[in-house]
Amino acid sequence: MPNLAPPGVCMLLEPDLAWLHLLSDIGTGLAYFSIPAALVVFALRRRDLAYPWIFGLFALFIIACGATHFAHAWAMFYPNPLLEGLIKAFCAAVSIATAITLWPLLPRLLALPSPAALAREVEERRLAERRALDSEARTAAFIANLAEALFVLRVDQGGTRFVTETVNPAYERLFGLPASQVVGKDAQTGFIPGVTERVLPNWQRAVATGEVQRYEVEAETPHGHRLWQTVLVPMRNAAGEVDRLLGSARDVTETRRLQAGIVESARLATIGTMCAGLAHETSQPLNAAALWLRHARNAATGLMTEQGARLMAALNVIDSQLRRAGDLVSRIRGLATETGEAETFDAARVARAAVRIADGQYAPDDIALSFTAPSGPLPVTGSPARLEEAVLHLLSNARDAVLEARATDPAAPARIGVALREQGGRVVIEVRDSGPGVPDALRQSIFDPFFTTKDPGHGSGLGLSLAAAVARGMGGGIAVSNPPEGGACFTMTLVLSEPTAQGLMPLAVAC
């Protein structure tokens, strides 16, 4: 409170009143010097305050007001109107500046969120975050349980390097690669050997064109032979460059196999009908020719001349060629029909018998022949003689493969392994060899009648065909694959039968 009375007037006051003025001014001054200190400490500690300079301005204004009180108290003893006036003028200047600054600032200060509003906002953000997390968890569960293999490739070094960022469990199942083995690794070296080179052009095209790529791959994976369809979606970053490839791969191995199976069944039915017709129609003229040849030989036997001998030699050649044609006809007939009554028998005993026969025949070739089967019987229904014949054909084919490998490398291993097992209601007979394996392109045609890769005169091209016919006749099928350890593996699957009440019927292998 500025004293408008001239200096020295206070001396005229009552001493009690003078003390009241003096102590009030000193108390107010001290308080006015203490408040800014608190304000400055607060402003310095709370670095997040909006408009921190306003606290400095308040502090200065309060200090200035405090100074006027001290000046007034001082003036009661040593009046100095000039000093007191200057201090008041400074206080007035700072007060006015503060007042002028404060009014325009007011709307902005009012716009600052209150603590309650801040708390509300924090809560809202927390809820939004939880919703996002829930959504992410749902997406993660969806991806984890998706039947399709998903993978994300990061595009590095301008599209020359790809790093696998994420894969889902279906990816691990389809490609037989654990996530730990591929995630964070170079996708070109970490993927299935031999496949990367085939898919890489698609990855590069996706990066270069920014367009979705679709492709199909068939390859041997650590989980076996697989066929899959991939859709590759390029993802762009903020700069518009493709920096990620989002891939999904669908396993169509089984679908294709079933489709191929339907086509194959129809084709085999046609082949079967053709074989039957061919065998029958060919056997008629062959039969007449063979009968008349016999006639001719009987007539020629009476001729004791040189011409007679030459005629007989010629007739013998014709006879041997007719027999050869006759053998061929009977083998073709074997492809078309099931002969003999079906009985239930132990596949392992029949296969073991075939291996024993082959072991004796192949002994001079120095081929290691092994046989494994479960201890219990493996009942199947069909003709034991036909199954034995089929296994012998598979063994003979394996032997040819082993000898072929030896022809190129005399030190090549010479192993044939026959293994039987029960698997999901089926009896599986595997014949593995250490030969050169079967090229992919021949996988289907190798079971076709008269298909052979062997030199003329070696093999009729009917052995594998017959094995396939036997497998089909027993409710199964046959397939060939090249196992990773090399060679070829022929897999015959037969329907597992319920053993008959009397147990398995005794074997009657007529060969």
Binding site: L291, H295, R333, T337
Partner: protein, 125 residues
């Protein structure tokens, strides 16, 4: 001698084959009756009952299986030899009914020595 000879009914639609078989059988002392199909064979069998039937399977009018059934209806123990270009499903049991004698099966082209041996076995003496 002729009256003592066994009479074989040969049902075969391939004329050339039938002629050769006839020659062969005659030379081995059998009496031969030739029929070009199953129907003709049945009619001939009614007039001259055979001691054995040697038949093809695929024939016009009446096939081998039908012929066997018809002749065995009257004579269940009639010896039957089948010569065929087909290997029928079920083998020789395909033509045989309960209580009937077995059927011998030969595939074409015929091994005539084996057929003759079978005929000697079925028609002894």
């Amino acid at each position: 001698m002729a009256s003592m000879a066994h009479r074989i009914l040969v049902a075969e639609d391939e004329g050339l084959a039938a002629m050769a078989i006839e020659d062969e059988l005659l030379s081995h002392g059998y009496e031969v009756v030739l029929a070009p199909d199953g129907q003709a064979a049945m009619e001939l069998a009614a007039r001259q009952p055979p001691d054995l039937l040697l038949t093809d399977l695929r024939m016009p009018r009446l096939d081998g299986a039908g012929l066997i059934r018809a002749l065995r209806a009257a004579r269940p123990d009639l010896p039957v030899v089948v010569m065929t270009g087909y290997a029928p499903a079920g083998g020789q049991d395909a033509f045989r009914r309960e209580g009937e004698a077995p059927v011998s099966l030969f595939s074409k082209p015929l091994d005539m020595d084996a057929v003759l041996a079978e005929l000697r076995r079925l028609l002894p003496g």
